[in-house]
Each structure stands twice: as structure tokens, then as C-alpha cells.
């Protein structure tokens, strides 16, 4: 079976890992860094991803996308409150956010696909083989739409997503493999944009998730914003400048806030410096760890309620937890570690790099799927209750949260009116009583034969697969015939759209290849012109005037092709020049031979 890689598609950074001789390892890039910043920039020369794109955050903030994971599976109304923080412009089409980059708009799965492609290429370069299959991780608390969007991103990137797995459970696999742990563990995963808590029971290689909880909109980004808001406020007060009007300075401010936060995990104080616009000088201040902790205290407290809820759902108390594992960059913060320790009454541990452990776990899961690892099995749960809207706008639960997946449930539907030919079904996810307070997942219409009211009996099967993604089937109990259900997602791309995006992505790839070929051809043409001119300056006396003229003509022709946009034309003129210059090189070699032989005996030459 073809190799399957494990991918951690993070809010801030992404990684790819694979199983090497029974051990998961992260694949580094050419620079040696294992993390690819989850940043995509549209430049004049096309799209760029990762570290080079990060440089564009301050240079062209309106065309550089970061934290796109926050938009996966969402509509514009979901992120209304934080639009001001993002320098790029967002719109919506068909319930899906679209990000404007120059002339074009992109859906979040398309942007994520660009990051995935970068990881795919990195893995291909490292392993020397084509990579088409992957396991991708998502926050445990991701709903169906967000999971589906992640799967779509994989498809667009040319990856078959064999499994979507939850980040905290992935981390537990990496830990379990390393330490052969048994007992009950809590994985506290505080990343760049999301927070998850999962409680698992580990026994004889089975990783059974007992409960999971979280907040998909709570992460390191929010901590950075607190610092940035403080600085904005102070700059406004001291210099009467509203940096909000300067997107490039806003980005610099955000990056400086992030840097300060990271620095304060190891130091007690840090210096902050922000260049002000229009040559108004520099704003500087000292920030201490104590000050930071006061600023973000309530955000960290917000992670504790889901922890208590997960414990309650698992039927456990903090004392029942044998080990606490910390995952995600935000757990480097001393205050986070302290609060976690206070809640569970135990010292948490972070033996594996919290930035890499999720990708490592994804590689382990990939190995399980390809049949390499056979002694480990992950039994995960669905994080949110699944239900349908019933009379009066109330949600009726079909599959409860924390149910082990795969999970299925059947519901019987009938008609209320004679001759009714359809029943509309609205699928929801969430824990609230009223349909309108829960997440709308999808709608579909059951086809019903026209019969007296109450006679038709249509059985609908809701199946949540091992990816946590819903599948719906319906069958007529009277005839035994199954019917296809066309589910219209509330916040997702349609199949047609995904297909178009896959095509587009190939087209982009084609454009990218053309661009790269052009750049390479120009470089080589330049080098050829330089060496030819050097030869001419040394050897023009050795060749006939008409040969010299034809070489000069070929150089001129190549120089003008080099200014054009056609790599093929450049290559053709390069071939012409090489041919025209052939007599010159021959003459020069003869000449140098002749000179080196001068004054030597014939016997020495043979």
C-alpha cells in the first residue's frame, strides 16, 4: 500500500510526519525547520506559502492570509466580531466565507489546500516518492462542517484524506507509543486558535476516549490580541495615532505581541518596540510576565470550564486522572501550566515537543491504517450531540455527544397530511434545547409516496463514521427501497464546487510550473550570454568575421527572447547561440592546447 503521511494542519503552524522504522518523525524543510507557518501570500509572482509568505505579513497585509483555520466550515456571520482583526477582506458565498486576494476570491479550504500542498511537496522531496494519501488532524471539538471543510482541503490539494483524527487523541497516540502508558489520561491541547480537552482510558493498546470538550475559537491568537489591544490603546493615548488605519503596522504590532508573549514564557520581562507610521518615531514599553498574566487570566480561565465538563461527562473526578499531557504552543505559558496543575492537582507533563506531538500522532494513525502498527487502536467519540429539528423548533437528539464512533441511529418518519410527497429534515449539532441555538449542519428532503397521512414509513439512518463525519441514508420501510439523500450543507462547499476547485488547483499548479520554467530559463540565458561575451572578449581574434557576426546576432536574439515571457523561445535561442558559438569554443580549445604544447618534446605529448 502506498505510504500515508500524517499532517497537523494548524492555525499558526503546520507539519507533516511519517513512520520511520516504527517511530514517527517529522519531516523538516530545506532550512531544517519542521514547522511550516500556516500563511499564504499572493505576490506578483504568484502564491507563496510558509516562511517566505510570513515575510509578506507586514509588506502586503491585505494579500497575506494567516489563521485561515478559524474560518473553516464557517459563514461570515460566525466571525463578525473579529473581522476588524484581519487585514484581508472577507465575503461570503453559499454559506461559505471567501477570502479576497487581489482579483480572486478563495474559500478557506482552498487556502488550506495550498498549505497542504506545501507539506505534500516537502514529504515528496524528502521521501523521493509521490504522496497521495494522508491522515489530517483537526481540533476534537470541530463540528461536522469544519471536518468536512478539512477533508475538502485535502481533496483540493490532491490528497486522499483516509482519516480525520482529533488533535488531542493524536497526541495521546504519540505518547502511548513512546511510554506504553496505561491508565486514565487527560490531554489539554491549547493551540494557536483552538482549545480541546480529551479524557482517555489507555489499556492494552486500546485508546478509548471517554469524553471530549473544548472551544474552537480560543487559542494563542486571543492571547496575542490582548497584548495588541493594550498597545493600540496606549499608542492612541500617547501619540494620538490609530494604528487600525495602517494594516502593515497592525501586522507588525500583532507579530510583536506574539513575540513578546513567547518571550515571557522563559523570561520575566521583555521590551516591546513598534515603529510608528509617517516617521512619528517609535513606541516602546516594557511588559512583564505578571502584567501579561493579568491581561490574559480570563482567557486561560475559559479553558477550565470545558475541562470540568469533560470530567463530568466521563464520570470522573480530577483525582481519577493518572496523567495530564500538555499539547500546543500555548501550553508553554507558565500560567497555563499552573492553572492546569491546580485543577487536576497533579504536575502535567510535556516530554514530547508540544508543537510536534500532534503530527507525530497523525503519523502513528497513518501507520495503523496502512497495516504497519497493529497493536494500537483509537476509539474516539463525537464531540457534539447530533439531532434533528422537530415541531416547535426544538432539537431532538439522535446521537449524544461523547458517543463512541462509528455511531449510528435510526429514526422513523411519516407524513401529517394526506398525499404529502416530501418531509423536510433539518440536521443540527449542539447541546442547546432550541434548534436555532445549535449549529445547522444540513437540510434535506425525504421523498415520500403520496399516501394517506401516517401511512408512509421512511427510516432514516444517521451514521457518524470514524472521521466524525455524518452520512445519511433513507429507506422506505413499506417497499424496502432505499433512496439517495441529497444533503445540502449549511456551511460547506457543494461537491461541484470542490471539483471545480480541484481543477483550479491543477491549473494554478500549471501556472506555477510555467512561471518557474520562465524564471529558470531566464537565469540560464543570462548565464549563457555572460560566458559567451567573456569568450568573445578573449577569442574573437581566433574566428572568421562572419562567424563572429553570427555569434553576435545570436546573443542579441537570446537577449530579446529573455525579455519575453516564453520559456520555450528562450530555450530555442539558447540552443541557437550554443550552435553559433560552437566554432568559437573549438578555436579557443585548439588555441589553448597549442599554447600549452609549445616548447615541449613530441614524446611528452603522446
Amino acid at each position: 500500500m502506498a505510504r500515508i503521511v500524517g499532517i497537523d494542519l494548524g492555525t499558526t503552524n503546520s507539519l507533516v510526519a511519517y513512520m520511520k522504522d516504527g517511530k514517527p518523525c517529522v519531516i523538516p524543510g530545506r532550512s531544517g525547520r519542521s514547522m511550516v507557518p500556516s500563511v499564504v501570500a499572493m505576490t506578483d509572482n504568484g502564491l507563496i506559502v510558509g516562511d517566505p509568505a510570513k515575510e509578506h505579513l507586514t509588506r502586503s497585509p491585505d494579500r497575506t492570509v494567516y489563521s485561515v483555520k478559524r474560518f473553516m466550515g464557517k459563514g461570515l456571520a460566525d466571525v463578525q466580531g473579529e473581522l476588524a482583526y484581519f487585514p484581508y477582506s472577507l465575503t461570503e458565498k453559499g454559506g461559505v466565507i471567501r477570502i479576497k486576494l487581489g482579483e480572486k476570491t478563495y474559500s478557506p479550504p482552498q487556502i488550506s489546500a495550498m498549505i497542504l500542498k506545501e507539506l505534500k511537496q516537502r514529504a515528496e522531496a524528502h521521501l523521493g516518492e509521490s504522496i497521495t494519501k494522508a491522515v489530517i488532524t483537526v481540533p476534537a471539538y470541530f463540528n461536522d462542517s469544519q471536518r468536512q471543510a478539512t477533508k475538502d482541503a485535502g481533496l483540493i490539494a490532491g490528497l486522499e484524506v483516509l482519516r480525520i483524527i482529533n488533535e488531542p487523541t493524536a497526541a495521546s497516540l504519540a505518547y502511548g507509543l513512546q511510554e506504553k502508558t496505561q491508565g486514565t489520561i487527560a490531554v489539554y491541547d491549547f493551540g494557536g486558535g483552538t482549545f480541546d480537552i480529551s479524557i482517555l482510558k489507555l489499556k492494552n493498546g486500546i485508546f478509548e476516549v471517554l469524553a471530549t470538550n473544548g472551544d474552537t475559537h480560543l487559542g494563542g491568537d486571543d492571547l496575542d490580541r490582548r497584548i495588541a489591544d493594550l498597545l493600540l490603546h496606549e499608542i492612541r493615548a500617547a501619540h494620538r495615532i490609530d494604528l487600525n488605519a495602517y494594516p502593515d503596522h497592525m501586522q507588525a504590532l500583532r507579530l510583536e505581541a506574539e513575540r513578546a508573549k513567547i518571550h515571557l514564557s522563559d523570561s520575566l520581562k521583555t521590551q516591546i518596540a513598534i515603529d510608528l507610521p509617517d516617521g512619528k518615531g517609535r513606541y516602546t514599553r516594557e511588559l512583564t510576565r505578571d502584567q501579561l498574566e493579568v491581561l490574559v487570566m480570563d482567557i486561560i480561565e475559559r479553558t477550565l470550564a470545558p475541562c470540568r465538563m469533560a470530567l463530568k461527562d466521563a464520570g470522573l473526578t480530577p483525582a481519577d486522572i493518572d496523567e495530564i499531557v500538555l499539547v500546543g504552543g500555548s501550553t508553554r505559558m507558565p500560567l497555563v501550566r499552573q492553572r492546569v496543575q491546580e485543577l487536576f492537582g497533579k504536575q502535567p507533563h510535556w516530554d514530547l515537543n508540544p508543537d510536534e506531538v500532534v503530527a507525530l500522532g497523525a503519523a502513528v494513525q497513518a501507520d495503523i491504517l496502512s497495516g504497519g502498527t497493529t497493536d494500537m487502536l483509537l476509539l474516539d467519540v463525537t464531540p457534539l450531540s447530533l439531532g434533528i429539528e422537530t415541531m416547535g423548533g426544538v432539537m431532538s437528539s439522535v446521537i449524544r455527544r461523547n458517543t463512541t464512533i462509528p455511531a449510528s441511529a435510526k429514526e422513523m418518519f411519516t407524513t401529517y397530511v394526506d398525499g404529502q410527497t416530501g418531509v423536510d429534515i433539518h440536521i443540527l449539532q449542539g447541546e442547546r434545547e432550541l434548534a436555532k441555538d445549535n449549529r445547522s449542519l444540513a437540510r434535506f428532503r425525504l421523498k415520500v409516496p403520496p399516501l394517506p397521512a401516517g401511512v408512509p414509513r421512511i427510516e432514516v439512518t444517521f451514521l457518524i463514521d470514524a472521521n466524525g463525519i455524518l452520512n445519511v441514508k433513507a429507506s422506505d420501510m413499506r417497499t424496502g427501497q432505499s433512496q439517495s439523500v441529497e444533503v445540502k450543507p449549511s456551511y460547506g462547499l457543494s461537491d461541484g464546487e470542490v471539483e471545480r476547485m480541484i481543477e483550479d488547483s491543477f491549473k494554478f499548479a500549471q501556472e506555477d510550473v510555467t512561471a518557474r520554467k520562465l524564471i529558470e530559463a531566464r537565469l540560464e540565458a543570462g548565464a549563457l550570454i555572460t560566458t559567451t561575451e567573456k569568450s568573445l572578449s578573449e577569442g574573437s581574434r581566433l574566428i572568421a568575421p562572419d562567424t563572429l557576426a553570427s555569434i553576435r546576432a545570436a546573443v542579441a536574439a537570446l537577449a530579446s527572447a529573455k525579455d519575453g515571457n516564453d520559456p520555450k523561445a528562450i530555450r530555442a535561442r539558447m540552443a541557437d547561440l550554443e550552435q553559433a558559438a560552437q566554432p568559437l569554443s573549438v578555436a579557443m580549445i585548439d588555441d589553448s592546447l597549442k599554447r600549452s604544447l609549445q616548447g615541449k618534446k613530441v614524446t611528452e605529448v603522446t
Binding site: L377, S408, A466
Partner: protein
């Protein structure tokens, strides 16, 4: 074959089910065909007790249940069918989902009892919409207190008194629920003893019906009380 002609249609279906879907050989293994080693779908007629290899009893060995669940998870989980045919993947998914439901149902003593009642008495769960007779007046009064509390100024003297009253009522109801659970536990033991005796006589059948009815009544009263307690918790906040 002539002597088989009297076999009814439903029997034919059962015969078909005991054959491997893939190689059509007669099935002797439990979930895997012994000839072609293909996974077999868990039959719709298989009850959860049978599925998890347990006798139909109300007191069960939790560690045995868990061990069997883990064993079957290793046999059915879709993770181990990635390289198999689409048909096998579909069976694996369906079996794993059934297994998870079976385990979830049997793991919890109340759900286990409700499920057994469905199997034995062949009826759906009874949903009680009015209070049990011995609780009737108490519940009516409680509903009024809750109404009054919702309408009251929580910070006032009256509001605080109503709240104290509701908290006391909640504690009383939770004690009652606990009593019912203990009663159920005794009935579970009685049921299992009766089953172990394997007596098919008329007195045993009467005893069986009496136990089923008692369990059903207590279970539906317990659900009713549980819902009232949930309401109370939501009201008190």
C-alpha cells in the same frame, strides 16, 4: 430437496443469513467466515447481549464486558479494513457502529434494564407524561413553587425562601431516585436468579411477568423524577 418444500419464506431468509455473503459457504465461525476469512455483518436479529457474548442477565461483569468490547473492536474497527474491499469496509463500519451501541447500552445498568425489558416484553419504552400516583400532589405543589420562583425577585426575602424550598425538594427527589435505584437492583437480582433456575412452569412464568411489570413501573417513575430534577436544577441555576 423435496422434503424442504414446506419450509416457509422466513426460514429461507434465515438460511441465507447463515451463509457467508462472499463465498456462500455455510457459516460456522461467529463473525468471520472460516473458509474465506471475510468479516460477516452482525445480524439485525442479534441482540446486544449475544453480540457481546453475555447471558441475558441484569447483573453483569463489567470487566468481562469491557474485555469483549475491546476484542470485538479490534475485529471490526474500520481502521483495520483500509486495505480491504468496499463491501468489507461497509460491513466493518456497520458492525463497529452496532458494537458501540451495544456496549453503550449494556454498560449502563438503567439502559441495560430498559433494553432487556424491550427484548422480553417486546414493547417500546413507556414515556410518562403525568406524575406517578404517590408523587402526584407533591409534584403539583413543586410545579407551583417553581412558577412562583421564576416570577419572583430572586434577591428578595420571598425569592430566597422559595429557592431554599426548591433546593430541599431537589434533595428529597434525589433521595427518592436513589431509593428506586436500590429497589431496581434487588429486582435485577431476583430476575437473574429466576433466569438461572431455568424453570418454565406456570408459577415461574407468573413471577417473570410480575418482575417485568415492577421493573417497568419503577424505571418509568425514575425517568419522570430524573426529568423533574433536571428541570429543578435548570430553574435554580
Amino acid at each position: 430437496m423435496a422434503h424442504h418444500t414446506h419450509i416457509s419464506g422466513s426460514r429461507d431468509i434465515q438460511m441465507a443469513r447463515s451463509m457467508c455473503w462472499h463465498c456462500q459457504s455455510e457459516m460456522s465461525g461467529e463473525y468471520f467466515c472460516e473458509r474465506c476469512v471475510k468479516v460477516q455483518p452482525v445480524s439485525k436479529e442479534t441482540d446486544y447481549f449475544t453480540c457481546l457474548g453475555l447471558p441475558r442477565r441484569l447483573t453483569i461483569d463489567q470487566s468481562k464486558l469491557e474485555a469483549k468490547f475491546y476484542e470485538l473492536s479490534r475485529a471490526f474497527h474500520p481502521d483495520f479494513y483500509q486495505n480491504k474491499s468496499e463491501a468489507e469496509q461497509t460491513i466493518s463500519l456497520g458492525n463497529a457502529a452496532t458494537l458501540n451501541t451495544a456496549y453503550r447500552t449494556l454498560r449502563d445498568p438503567i439502559q441495560r434494564a430498559e433494553y432487556l425489558l424491550d427484548l422480553e416484553a417486546g414493547s417500546v419504552k413507556e414515556i410518562r407524561t403525568s406524575p406517578p400516583s404517590d408523587l402526584f400532589e407533591e409534584i403539583l405543589e413543586l410545579q407551583e413553587t417553581m412558577e412562583a420562583y421564576r416570577a419572583s425577585d430572586r434577591a428578595s426575602q420571598a425569592g430566597r425562601e422559595l429557592r431554599a424550598q426548591l433546593i430541599a425538594e431537589q434533595e428529597a427527589l434525589e433521595r427518592r431516585k436513589h431509593d428506586m435505584e436500590q429497589q431496581l437492583q434487588r429486582l435485577f437480582t431476583d430476575w437473574d436468579t429466576l433466569q438461572d433456575r431455568g424453570d418454565a412452569g406456570a408459577p415461574a412464568r407468573a413471577e417473570r411477568d410480575r418482575l417485568l411489570k415492577q421493573m417497568r413501573d419503577i424505571l418509568s417513575n425514575r425517568t419522570y423524577v430524573k426529568n423533574i430534577v433536571n428541570d429543578l436544577v435548570a430553574t435554580i441555576g
